[in-house]
Structures are given as structure tokens and as C-alpha cells.
Amino acid sequence: MPDFDLTPDQEAFRAVVRDFAEAEIRPRAEQMDATGEFPVDIVRGMGELGLLGLPFPEEVGGGGADYLTYIVALEEIARVDQSTAITLEAGVSLGAAPIVYWGTEAQRERWLPPLLTGDGLAAFGLTEPDAGSDAGATRTTAVRDGDEWVVNGSKAFITNSGTEITVLVTIAAVTSRGDDGRARISNIVVPSGTPGFVVEPKYAKMGWRASDTHGLTFEDCRVPVENLLGEEGDGFRNFLRILDEGRIAIAALGVGLAQACLEESVRYANTRTAFGRPIGANQGISFKLADMAVSVEAARMLTRKAAWLRDLGRPFKQAAAMAKLYASEAAVAATREATQVFGGAGFIDETPVSRYYRDAKVLEIGEGTSEIQRLIIAGGLLADPGSA
């Protein structure tokens, strides 16, 4: 029997995360959006709650929770602030996960502890100026020279790569070419501050403004051979796994955002009056609320189901792509309609829906654009007609 209730533990933790988000993040969200300030103390607070290591096994120092618990917690943070949510998502799903999954015991001991407590953050550098959706087109190279890898190239749009607590970035780089000339991509850990590793100034962004995003440049940047993460040549397969999981997490950001829009819109529709009655008394407004509520629920179910499949060890690639596609588009639609419900006030930064509107769009882009999700879903259907 499927069970749509959270377990008592998941529910208890969800309530704690909501309290935390309401008390520690909400009062600062508007200000952080305005200044772009990166909230190191909030990251530490999330670390104390156990959020940064939540879905990793206890043996490596994680919380031992399943992915669904992590998704539920992420939705609560996302409901209050998208910037903080992407900082958490990138810290866990992109930063720590590769080291948990492919790190040797020595590598885990060396790099993981601060990442699981929120004392440090790691980034995942896949995208390049000329390799985004087509991430296999990676041009960054890492050439073996004695006991070292020599890295050259550049990365674009890398989250958490330049905060004051960032300790490393795991990059995808071409380490050799096969006989057929195909690039063999590997993951290499480059600690922050390594000579030849330059973190470019922060991008000015439309949304996610309090999240930390930089371009990275590597110029004859040397790291020890031990910094190879996983097997040489496994980099491509590895980042696909990272992205499949990350997509469920991005979907949770979308669910949280759409949920926030729904709550704000319902409240406003009941209190704002025009023509002598609450605006919610007009079907033109109330139907927006109905549609929004349906999309929140549908997005949440797709997202939780994808996490559930992953937790059972079943294939979840298609489900993750569906959740990411649907939830991000639901979030964009919900922010558009919430802004409409708020009228002029929705365009002003003092109401949160204005921030929500700016934060939403990137959900349709990061960790695979909507087009790429459709490619994955359609590709799966056509390759396996029985799955239709």
C-alpha cells in the first residue's frame, strides 16, 4: 500500500526545520536578497540541525536519513528563502555527495567533516562557458605530470564556489582521450586557494541573489594525484548520477516556492479589498488559487515519489526529470500568478512575491534546463515504448 503520510520522524523534523526557517531565515530573507550577503551563520545553523549531512550514512558522519526526509526539509527552507535553499541543495547534493559516493576512506576523512557540519562548503564545477546542456563537451583538461594533475580551463556559474567557508570544488575535466578520440572525463578535487585556481568575482543575478555563484579559472593549477575522485574516466557517468539526484532536490525548491506563493496569495486574496469586497470573492482571482493549489500538490507528489523510488533503490532517472520539469514550471507559473494577485504591490520588493518571481526562473535552467528534462523523458519513452 502506498502511504502518503510522512513518518513521525520525518514529520517531527519537518516541524523543526519550519521553525528554524521561520525564526532564523525569514526575518532576513528580504535584506539578504537586497544586499547579496551570504549568510555563513545560517549555514552553520543548518549544520547544527543536521541538514548538511542529512541524507548520507551515519558511517561517514551523515544523518542517516533517507532522501525523502532531505527533500521534505529542503522544501521547508525553500518555502521561506530560495537563496538559502540552493545554498543547502548545492552544499549537499553537489558539494558533499561526490565525496561521499566516490571518495576513498582517506579522501572522506580529509574532506567530508566540515561539509557535513556546515563549517565548510564544497562546490561542483561541471558547466563551462562552452559546455552547459552539452556537459560532455567539457574542455577543461587535467594532465598528469608526475605526482600531480595540471588543470587548465574554466567553469561557469558554479554555486558555493567562492564563499568564505568554501573549502574545495570538484571539477569535471578531460584527463585523457580514448583510442576513438573521445574525451575521458574524470572528477578532480581542487582545494580553494590552490595556486592557479582563480575564483572570478560574483555574478550579478536576477534571483538567488544571496547565493554564491562564480566563474572559475584554472591556469596550470597543480593538485596531487590523490585528488582524483573515483576512477579515471568515470566522471561523465558520475555527474549524471549527481544530476539525477540533484534534480529531485531542485524540484523540492520548486515545490517550496509554489507553496509559498499559494500561502501568500490566499492570505492576500482574503484581506485585500477592491470594489467593496475581498479580491478573492472574484472568480478571476479565486480560480488562480485553485489552480495553484493543484499544481503545488501535483509537484509535491511527483517530487516525493522520485525520492521514494531513489530510496528503494529503483530506477528514478525519468521520475526525477518529470519532477524537476513539472515542479520548476509550476513554481514559475505560481510566482507569476501570485504577483498578479498582489497587483502593484507584487512588483515592489517589500512584498515577498516580487522576490519569488525573480527567484523562480532559474529553476527551469539549473541542473538541466526544461528542454533537457523533456529530452530525457522523451528519450526514455521512445527507447522503451513499454514504459509509456
Binding site: D9, A12, F13, V16, D19, F20, G45, E48, L49, G50, L51, L54, G63, G64, A65, T69
Partner: protein
């Protein structure tokens, strides 16, 4: 250092509050840890951790599930005693103090009993002093910080003007003022660990108490009078003087 913390489980103050036919508060839904008590729990955890040994034991009397106790266990308390007994329905503050005192006496050696200055729902603010009296212990109230040293408890006791420095022999009953520390959030691991911590459920008979005659009968409950309109001061250029005078009278400035 072993510390006992009296914590009340209350209906969520954010939710609607309803009365039973006998004018007591309905406590049927999920009960939560009274926020007033979270400060005492935090202080107790800090004292235990500073001492490097000992246990924090929670004591509570309430109907229903120990959901609020679980929160405090998830914060880091070591174990809990929960007194649940239908015969306690409608108990007043003195009876509550008697029950808590009996539970304290079962809890073994302890240095301090910590409670909040007043609860959020009943807020008579009388249970802790009565508890101290029954136990024959010193009672120190309104603590903003607590230190135990040389067989004594040293308390900075909040007053309107600042604070008094008070000391008392241990064991003692100390009440903590709300807001004096930042209670920690339960972590995920804390929530998981809480499920395995000892939680003893007791009835009145287990405590060897005879509570055949309760002192309380709530005759009626009235709505609080709606707030009277404030005083309007027309500004003739000197209104600020009247406002300052008013504030001084209220001892606000």
C-alpha cells in the same frame, strides 16, 4: 551533575483553544513543549555539558502523548518521567506541585530542580515555589543565569532594575525567566536518538499519593473585557510633555 527539569506539555497556543464542560482547557490534540520551559531545558543541558557528567531528567504531568517531552529529549535531555492519570483532570497548581514533588523524589540524586517562572497556558507562576516548599528546598526565582560551584547554586536573579546575585545551598529549585538563553533546535540525530531514551510513564498510584480531595472547581470562565479605548491627546504643541509624563508614570522610561 544531575538536573531535573519540570516541563509542561501544553496545547499549541497558536491553535484554537476550547474549554471542556467543567471549564478546564481541552488538551486532546497534540501537546507541545511549553516554550517557557525550553529555556530551562537549554540551561540544564548547558550545565550538564559544562560539568561534563550527569543527566538531565524531565518531569511532566499531562494527559496524552509525551510529544512535548520528545522535543526536549531530542534537544538532548537524557530521560523523562511522565505522570499521566485521568484522576488528575482539573488539577490545580498545588495538586500539580504535589504530583511533581512525588515524581522528583523518585528521580534519585539531583543538584537542581529547574522550572519556568510561569507556564504559557495556566501562568499562575505558583507551581515551582510550592514544589520547593513540599520538597523542603530553597527556592530561587527569575534566574537569568545559573552556576553551580562549591555546593552552592549561584543565580543572577532578574529584577526590574537589573539583577540580584543570589546563592543557595543545593539541591534547590530554580525558576528560569523566559528568553534568557537561546534554546537549541532539536537536530535530526537528536530526534532519532530521542526515541530510544528512557521514558517512564507513571500513574498517581505509582507515586504513592492520595489525592482524593482536589482543591479546585472552576465555577465559570468569562471573556476578558475588551480593551478600553486609549486616551487621546490633542497636540497643541505640548502633547509630547503629556506623553513623557504618562510614560514616566508607567515607569517605562
Amino acid at each position: 551533575m544531575n538536573i531535573l527539569v519540570c516541563v509542561k506539555q501544553i496545547p499549541d497556543p497558536a491553535g484554537p483553544q476550547e474549554l471542556n464542560n467543567d471549564n478546564t482547557l481541552k488538551r486532546e490534540g497534540k501537546l507541545i513543549l511549553d516554550e517557557s520551559d525550553s529555556y530551562g531545558v537549554e540551561i540544564a543541558l548547558q550545565l550538564r555539558d559544562t560539568a561534563g557528567e550527569g543527566e538531565v531528567t524531565l518531569i511532566s504531568m499531562s494527559p496524552g502523548e509525551p510529544s512535548g517531552l520528545r522535543t526536549a529529549l531530542a534537544m538532548g535531555a537524557d530521560k523523562a518521567i511522565h505522570v499521566v492519570d485521568d484522576t488528575l483532570h482539573g488539577a490545580d497548581a498545588l495538586s500539580t506541585a504535589k504530583v511533581l514533588a512525588a515524581a522528583v523524589q523518585r528521580a534519585g540524586d539531583y543538584t537542581l530542580v529547574i522550572a519556568a517562572t510561569e507556564s504559557t497556558d495556566g501562568y499562575t507562576g505558583t507551581v515551582p515555589a510550592q514544589l520547593a516548599e513540599i520538597l523542603g528546598l530553597p527556592s530561587v526565582t527569575f534566574a537569568k543565569s545559573i552556576r553551580v560551584e562549591g555546593g552552592k547554586v549561584h543565580v543572577d536573579r532578574q529584577t526590574e532594575a537589573g539583577y540580584d546575585v543570589v546563592e543557595a545551598d543545593v539541591p534547590a529549585v530554580v525558576t528560569v525567566t523566559a528568553g534568557v538563553v537561546e534554546p537549541r533546535y532539536p537536530s535530526f540525530k537528536g530526534i532519532m536518538a530521542a526515541k530510544k531514551k528512557p521514558l517512564e510513564t507513571l500513574a498517581v498510584s505509582d507515586l504513592g499519593l492520595d489525592l482524593s480531595s482536589w482543591g479546585q472547581n472552576i465555577v465559570s470562565v468569562e471573556d476578558a473585557p475588551s480593551r478600553a479605548a486609549g486616551e487621546k491627546i490633542e497636540d497643541d504643541g505640548e502633547a509630547y510633555l503629556k506623553i513623557v509624563e504618562f510614560l514616566e508614570e508607567q515607569k517605562v522610561i
